[in-house]
């Protein structure tokens, strides 16, 4: 029963939100308490999974390969926990960060359908079911992206929609071909059946279909152009959810299928992933250097960080996968934080363009520190969380003698530091190019005034977590290691799902 909560809670919230109509006060109240409830449920699920192992539930009571299975292993529980936590914080931020008009257009309703899709994708134990949750997530994200209907938003949405529909087509082709070869769609059963198939070459083709489709969603190297074209168009709260969560759903799916199902031809598939990872890192950071809009710099930065996550998957040792999982944990928190801070900067200064910004350090030293923490964390400066995540991934790669790509990863870390410092120099350090009405010094207490309190608290919490992970990485890494152990031994997953019905 507890397994289905990540779907049921958002669904209930959506129904309630539909009933209150367009009363903004109620929409906000229900929306935010729903998000908090979801976080509590995820905490409960995480605790249960940590104590008792993989949770499995069969929808409708049909036994495993026939019915729809919901599975929560440690990775899913972890993703649920982090995503619902950041979603709650972004929800708090959105109370002030999103204008009344968009709240009246039911921002929170689509926010919760999005969370339903994300949660469903994390707990689906059936590949077609996963496709359906992906679509739930996508349709909500289409609406959120175009919510409010400004010209840039509509244009960004067009690009986003088109690329995602093509990727969904690839997903369905993969599902169809997989079914034709195995006669099953249950992921555990697939993992069980796949090694016995005669035509392993065709299976490699299918695995590449999944690589393309999840890769498009995760924004890996040749397929990332939609991301910087669309993520800077919506209000910052929406962009923060997308940047923090949606690409990570793609990474989660890649981790899932390439550790559970498509492990028959690792030398071929994971080498491809390795090169893609290298290119993603380099191209993403080069793109970030060329931009001058903070949101676009952060979008390209997101792409380059995606490279590190699939780098861990490509190296494919327990340490590397644990590094990947740790990286996802760190990155959801830090990237959401960076977007939220840039939203506060925009609210104060009225611009995202670093050429037009300036003098923030002088006027708002406290806010500047809040930017510096996630910025240095992304760049991998110890003792912040980014340092450990990079360390684990690169250490695993060096153990497997991937020297060239490790050097690339380290160099990209330097590039990351470079463009983060570019934002810092231009927006924070430089004198304000337009010294005007608001340039008088503002005490930090003002950030806790009624206008900013809802925006600053999420940022404070996220920065706090970054520091905590940085100083005490061990408990977090232990969880990552345990989930990597589960991922590297697919028979644990298979046994948990099929154990009761097969044999």
């Amino acid at each position: 029963m507890i397994t289905a909560l990540p779907i049921l809670i958002p669904l209930m919230v959506v129904i309630l939100l539909l009933m209150v109509g367009r009363k903004v006060y109620w929409l906000k109240l229900i929306g935010i308490s729903g998000a908090f409830l979801l976080f509590l449920a995820s905490l409960l699920i995480f605790y249960t999974v940590r104590q008792e192992g993989i949770l499995v539930s069969q929808a409708g009571g049909w036994p495993a390969p026939y019915g729809i299975t919901l599975v929560i292993d440690l990775l899913s529980a972890l993703m649920l926990l982090i995503s619902s936590f950041t979603a709650f914080l972004v929800g708090v931020y959105a109370l002030k960060g999103i204008d009344e008009k968009r709240h009246r257009f039911r921002f929170f309703l689509f926010f919760h359908t999005l969370m339903m899709g994300v949660g469903g994708a994390f707990i689906a134990g059936d590949i077609f079911n996963m496709y359906v949750w992906f679509e739930v997530m996508l349709i909500s994200s289409f609406v959120l992206l175009s919510l409010g209907g400004s010209k840039l938003q509509i244009e960004g949405t067009f690009k986003y929609v088109t690329i995602n529909l093509v990727s969904s087509a690839f997903f369905l082709i993969g599902v169809g071909l997989l079914y034709s070869m195995t006669g099953t769609l249950n992921m555990a059963h697939l993992a069980d059946v796949i090694p016995t198939i005669e035509n392993q070459k065709m299976l490699t083709v299918v695995s590449l279909m999944f690589l393309i489709c999840f890769g498009m969603k995760a924004a890996i190297f040749p397929l990332f152009f939609w991301l910087p074209a669309s993520y800077h168009t919506p209000p910052i709260s929406i962009a923060a959810v997308f940047a923090g969560m949606l690409t990570k759903v793609g990474i989660y799916s890649l981790l899932r299928v390439f550790t559970l199902m498509f492990i028959g031809n690792v030398a071929f598939t994971h080498t491809i992933i390795l090169w893609i990872a290298g290119f993603t890192m380099v191209v993403g950071s080069l793109g970030a250097i060329s931009q001058s809009d903070i949101r676009r710099i952060l979008s390209f930065c997101l792409i380059s960080q995606i490279g590190y996550m699939i780098f861990g998957l490509a190296v494919f040792t327990p340490l590397a996968i644990a590094g990947s999982v740790f990286y996802i944990m760190h990155h959801i928190i830090v990237k959401t934080n960076l977007f939220l801070v840039s939203g506060i900067i925009h609210k104060i200064k009225g611009s995202y363009n670093i050429k037009k910004l300036g003098g923030i350090l002088n006027a708002y030293p406290f806010l500047s520190v809040l930017f510096l923490i996630p910025a240095l964390s992304v760049a991998g400066i110890p003792p912040l969380s980014g340092f450990w995540s990079k360390l684990f991934v690169i250490k695993a790669a060096l153990e497997q003698h991937y020297y060239l790509i490790s050097i690339i990863a380290l160099a990209v870390g330097l590039l990351t530091l470079f463009y983060m410092m570019k934002i810092w120099n231009e927006a924070f350090w430089k004198d304000d190019p337009e010294p005007n009405k608001k340039s008088d010094k503002m005490p930090w207490q003002n950030l806790f005034s009624r206008d900013f309190i809802f925006m600053i608290i999420p940022v404070l919490l996220l920065s706090g977590i970054t520091i905590v992970i940085g100083i005490f990485p061990e408990p977090f890494f232990n969880i990552a290691e345990r989930s990597a152990h589960e991922l590297m031994n697919p028979e644990i997953y298979i046994k948990a799902v099929l154990g009761s019905t097969m044999n």
Binding site: F128, V132, E135, I139, F142, V143, S146, G149, K151, L152, I154, E155, G156, T157, F158, K159, V161, T162, L165, V166, S168, A169, L172, I173, V175, G176, L177, Y179, S180, L185, P228, A229, S230, H232, T233, S290, Q291, S292, R296
Partner: protein
């Protein structure tokens, strides 16, 4: 039958990709529709077709007579059709809104969000 459907699928994919690469937003949407329908057909064929047999299991106790069709791909295709339908409706609304704001369907004009 399977060969014919395979050829139709191929033609649909070709037409879909061709339309996606044209310069008009309307044709882009048509291309998406073609792609999603081609994929639906692909699932239908690849799961294997059983002609003229129902997709029912015999009643409990009774003997299963002959082959039965696989009901699962049909359920999958049905789901995919419904999802595709919703998405096409959304894209059409988006297209309408975009045209109302800019007065153009030309894909070459859709470059505002990529400016540095």
């Amino acid at each position: 039958m399977e060969i014919m459907l395979s050829i139709i699928t191929g033609v649909l994919y070709t037409a879909g990709v061709y339309l996606l690469l044209r310069r008009s937003l309307v044709k882009l949407i048509l291309g998406i529709i073609f792609l999603s329908n081609a994929t639906n057909l692909l699932i239908f064929i690849s799961a294997g077709m059983t002609e003229g047999k129902p997709a029912f299991v015999a009643k409990e106790g009774a003997e299963q007579t002959g082959q039965m069709a696989d009901p699962l791909p049909q359920a999958l295709v049905l789901t995919a059709i419904v999802i595709g339908f919703g998405i096409v409706a959304f894209t059409l609304a988006l297209n309408y809104k975009y045209h109302k704001q800019t007065g153009t369907y030309d894909l070459d004009q859709v470059k505002e969000t990529d400016k540095v």
